[in-house]
Every structure is written in C-alpha cells, then in structure tokens.
C-alpha cells in the first residue's frame, strides 16, 4: 500500500472511485455483512443528522453540529475498532457513535437533554459513554488530543492491548495542544491513532488559511512517525488506512496521523450560515463526491445491494428514528438541581449550602 507520506504529497489513498469501481488489489478483507453494516451506519447517521437539523430549526433540540458528507471518514475508521479500544471524539462524531454501537435512543436522550441524558444536561453537542468507551469531547478545539495520548500511554504501561483513537478537524491542527500531544506520542510511542477529518473549513476559515502545508498528513514528519493521506469520502480507504494504523499501534509500533480529506456539506453548526463564506458551486461539486452515494454504487456494482434494498433501508431507518424521537421527547426533563451534580465525588459544604439556597428559588 502506498499510503505513507514523508515530506511530500503523492495523492490521497483511494479504493473506490467516484463511479463505484474499485481498486481490487487494495480492497480490505471485509465480509458482505460487514460492508452492509457500514453502509447502514452511514445511512442511519445521515438520516439522524438531517432529523437533528430539522429538530433544531423547530426549536425542539439545542444546537447541532452536522456530519453530512463526512460519514465515510467516521464510519470507515470506527469500524476498525475492537471492543477494548477507546474513542476520544470531537463534537461532530455522531457517525462514530453509531458505528460503535451506540443506540440512537441514547444520542437522542442527549440531544433532548431529558432525564436519561447520559451527560446530565451539562454540555451541548457532545456525547460520551463509559460503556461504549467513548470519552466526551471538551468543546475547546483540540483539547481531547493530549487526553487520548495519556490514555494510550497508560494502556501501554499496563501492558494492555487497547488502542486510543482521537478525532479532530483541520482547524484543531493549528492548536498548541495538537502539537504537544503528537510530540508526546512520538517520544513515548503511544498506541494512539490521530484521525484528522480535514473537511476544509474551520467555521469560515478555509484550509488554505489554516496552514501553509498542502496536507495535514505531512505534519507527522515533525513528530517522527507516519502520516497517511486518505480520501475521506471513500469508506473503504478510510477503513483500510485506519485498520493498518490501529494494528500497528496494537503491535507496539507507535502512533499514526491519518488525514481523511473530506468536505462538510452542511453548515458548521445549526447556528452557522455558510453562504457568508463559500460558494454554492463548491458545495455542489462536493455533493458529487458524496460518500454514501459512492459506496452505494460500489455495493450495487458488486451485486451486494439494490435500489429496492436501499429504499427499504431508508424507510426502516426513518421509522426507527421517528419512533425514537417521540420516545425521547416524551421523557421527563432533567430536574433543576442536576446543575449541582457531578462537580466533585462528594459534595463539599459550600456546594451543599448553595444547593440549599438554590432550592428556595425553584
């Protein structure tokens, strides 16, 4: 495989072409059911995303950071993880949670901040679950990266075979935390995979203004390990590149920086208006590279899928989501004093006092 980049750019690694044909030599070993599961996850993520956009517009859920267009990068990479591996996402990774097996009911409980919200209504737009080995993102960009490295170093110290994967955007690579963390990972050969979704924008800031390099992948040079540039709209390429990096990390051969080159089709968040900073034509161009359509073409070409299957799948998913939305919306809201929960393991006297005072006002 020609995936490594040291110092110069050769072109992003790709397996599925736009028309759905494939580079047979590089096809990963995946069973049909695995591939169909990946496809299903991508579609589910897309439909859920579009529901969350609408629900937000209707004022029924809070802010949402859409993942439309980035499903291949997230689902492809997350499908390589074993149950012992840990995920340190950012705020745009619902497709990762789905691939990791998180039920959408839980994601919806989160978005509706109902009494079953696993984060107790304490933060927006992020998700985490100890059961699924997902550590919720801190909203400040890039901040989760050192945490993933520390986790990986600890796993290594314990002789465990767990690998940590952390997700972040192109904008995050400009932060000091990205640098300090990758440098640590290089020095300590931590079993960690840095998965950068270069969706070409940090809100309005285009990639060309974010850094002077042509790729993110080549930044790995500065840390003494491998950088990989991959077509982020090609789910199999993302799967293969990540699988290789995860296995390498598990073997004790250290970290990898993967850049999945992709595009955010939607706004930055529901609060954003992308027409202020980019042309409609550009978005349209990228719609043609839609990762779901491409994977579908691939599956159909190989006789693994049909338009009928697809229609059925969409219908089924749509029903499912609607049902879960209804359920989530019907659940009780969080109690007011939840704002005093989870500050410390045991409540210090000053918080007990404040909670008492608080209870007089609700």
């Amino acid at each position: 495989m020609q995936m490594s980049i040291v110092g110069c750019v050769m072109g992003a690694f790709q397996i599925i072409s736009l028309d759905g044909s494939a580079d047979e030599e590089h096809l990963p070993e995946l069973s049909t059911s695995q591939m169909l599961k990946m496809y299903r996850d991508m579609v589910l993520a897309r439909r859920l995303d579009s529901w969350l956009m609408r629900l937000q517009r209707m004022g029924r859920v809070a802010i949402h950071a859409p993942s439309e267009g980035q499903e291949a990068a997230m689902v492809g990479s997350a499908h390589t993880l074993e149950s012992e591996d840990w995920v340190f996402p950012s705020y745009r990774e619902i497709p990762v949670y789905i691939a990791r097996g998180v039920p959408i009911s839980e994601i919806l409980n989160r978005q509706f901040c109902n009494e079953e919200d696993p984060l107790h209504g304490h933060d927006m737009a992020v998700y985490g679950s100890r059961r699924h080995k997902i550590v919720p993102a801190p909203v400040p960009v890039g901040m989760q990266i050192p945490t993933a490295v520390g986790f990986a170093m600890a796993a290594k110290y314990r002789g465990e075979k767990a690998v940590a994967i952390t997700y972040f955007g192109d904008g995050a690579t400009s932060k000091g935390d990205f640098h300090e963390a990758l440098n640590f990972a290089g020095v300590f050969k931590a079993p960690v995979v840095f998965f950068c979704q270069n969706n070409q924008y940090a809100i309005s800031c285009p990639f060309s203004r974010q850094t002077a390099t042509k790729t993110i992948a080549e930044k790995a040079v500065a840390y003494g390990f491998e950088g990989v540039w991959v077509d982020g709209n090609d789910v199999l390429a993302c799967y293969s590149a990540t699988k290789r990096a995860i296995e390498k990390a598990r073997r004790g051969e250290g970290p990898t920086l993967i850049e999945a080159f992709t595009y955010r089709l939607g706004p930055h968040t529901t609060a954003d208006d992308p027409s202020r900073y980019r042309e409609h034509a550009e978005v349209e161009k990228w719609r043609e590279r839609d990762p779901i359509a491409r994977f579908k073409r691939f599956l159909i070409r190989r006789g693994l899928w049909s338009e009928e299957d697809d229609a059925k799948l969409h219908e089924e998913i749509e029903e499912d989501i609607k049902l879960e939305i209804e359920k989530a919306e019907r659940k009780r809201p969080l109690k007011p004093d939840v704002i005093f929960a989870d500050v410390y393991e045991s409540e210090p006297w000053h918080l007990a006092e404040e909670r008492d005072e608080f209870s007089r006002f609700i």
């Binding site: 901040c113 940090a202 809100i203 309005s204 800031c205 974010q210 918080l351 608080f358």
Partner: protein, 324 residues
Amino acid sequence: MAVISLAQAINQALREEMRRDDRVIVMGEDVGRRGGVFLCTEGLYEEFGPDRVIDTPLAESAIVGVALGMAIYGLRPVAEIQFADFIYGGFDQIVSNIAKIRYRSGGQFSAPLVIRAPYGGGVKGGLHHSQSPEAYFIHTAGLKVVIPSTPYDAKGLLISAIRDEDPVIFFEPKRIYRSVKGEVPEGDYTVPIGVSRLVREGSDVSLITYGAMVYECEAAAEKAEKEGISVEVLDLRSLLPFDGEAIIKTVRKTGRPIIVHEAPKICGFGAEIAAFIAEREILSLQSPIIRVAGYDTPFPLVHEHLYLPNERRILDAIKRAVSF
C-alpha cells in the same frame, strides 16, 4: 441619534477607529468574511481588506501572542477571542507576557492592545460558551478589564480601550448583544476606563454589578421599589481598575451593599468588592455584604436561567439586607 444594538455599537467603534487610525487592525477566528460569529466585525473586511481584518488560524495563544508582537511594533491590534471560554488557550501569553511586558522591560516596551471576547450565559451555550472569566484577569496586575452593559458605553469604552497604552481585556455580554438597544452618537467620543455609571439612585440598598446583570438588577430594583425599598444600582463598567470612590459613596449612602455577577462566587470579582468594602467602610454597614453570583459549579446547559442570578434571587437578597 441612531438607536443601535450593543453588537452594532462595537462594530461602529471598530469601524470608526480603524478609519481614524491605520495602526488599528482586527484579528481573530472568523472575523473577516464571516464578520465574526456574532457579526461584531461585519463589513470591516469589505471596507479595510484582509491586511487589517485578519482571519487567523484556530490558535488562541498565537492570536494574542502575535497581537503582542504587533503592539510592540507600534500597531494597535484588537484581537477577538470567539468566546471568552476559549481565552484560556491564550492565558499564558496574556498573563505571563502581555500583562508583564511593560514591567519586564523596565518600561521600554508596552502592549497597547485590546482582547475582545463575548462572555456570559443566557444563550443556551452550555459549559464552554457561557463562562464569565473576568476574575482571572482582574487578579493579574498589568491588565485592565472592562465590561460594558449599554451600546453607548460599549462604543465609548472600546474606543478608550483601543487608545489605552496598556492591554485591555474587553468582555462583551453576548446575551444582550442584540436585545439591548440604545442611542449611540456617530463619531468620536470616549467613556473613560475606571469610572462607573450610576444606573439608578436609591437610599436603602446598593446593587453593585456589571454586564448583563445590570438589567436583572434594574428589574429587581423596580420590584423592590414597589414594596417600598429604595434601591441604587451601580454599573461598574471597569473592573480593573474599578471605581472605588463610587463604591464607597453608595455604601455610605445605603449601608447595604449587594454585589451581583454571573461568574461563580468563590474568588469571583464580588469577593474583591466585598473585601474592599469590609476593609474601608465597616462602620457604614447596616447589613452583611451579600453576593448574588453564579453557583460554584461549571456552567450548565440545562436550567441556566436558574443558575444565573435573576430578579428573584436579587430581590431575595435585597429583602434579606433590609430586614437584617
């Protein structure tokens, strides 16, 4: 006179000052084409171009650190931090470098720059889009800290901040960016840093506050008035240096100071005001010095209206003060 919003007043201050003084440049994330996520820099990119309205990479430490270099050169950078919650990424540069450059260099160099950031809660922003971090900066010698609450003050104080020879942390109460409107003269005027504004006179209780809380205090004062309690409201506007004289004056007048702010109580700025009073005006006190503040938890997404000091809590404090 035009009636404009607080956000528009900020925009006007920047625009006019950039027209007057080509040393003034604006920089930060999304401040250019996007016009800032709250549109405070809207139109500046179009008028002044990319050399003076600089969209930066996503890096708060560099944003303020680079601004310092520009200030040392002789420019007057106005750096925007997209939300005050993200200013911590630049904390080291602000506290260790910017605040101390004059001192460190024996007065040879200084940092005439402004760091603007929307701050405070009430916009359903959750943990990392709602914080009020002013106390961290008030505790840092070498900085000035300013928080306007009206469009008029926002413009006048921002112009003062840009012209100030020392670094000014300028926090803007985002919750009232659009909701609060007021008369703002076009053209050049300043509001001096260090001087408070008496929002409302009263004789029984003093509410000492700033930012969006000014409006909660006014509402509570009005309610109290109806119950026969006369409440004075002082908008500090500048937190470092703060207007000690005005604080003493109102405490002498009412004897019952209540300090109101959004930030968590422990070691918040309310502590300083209380300590200041307790050190100088103990004989004037007719009641304990009460603080109504954010609770000492991280800022929650849900129930933020209950987390934030509100009319009800302030009124309760007023009653406790007068019935002491």
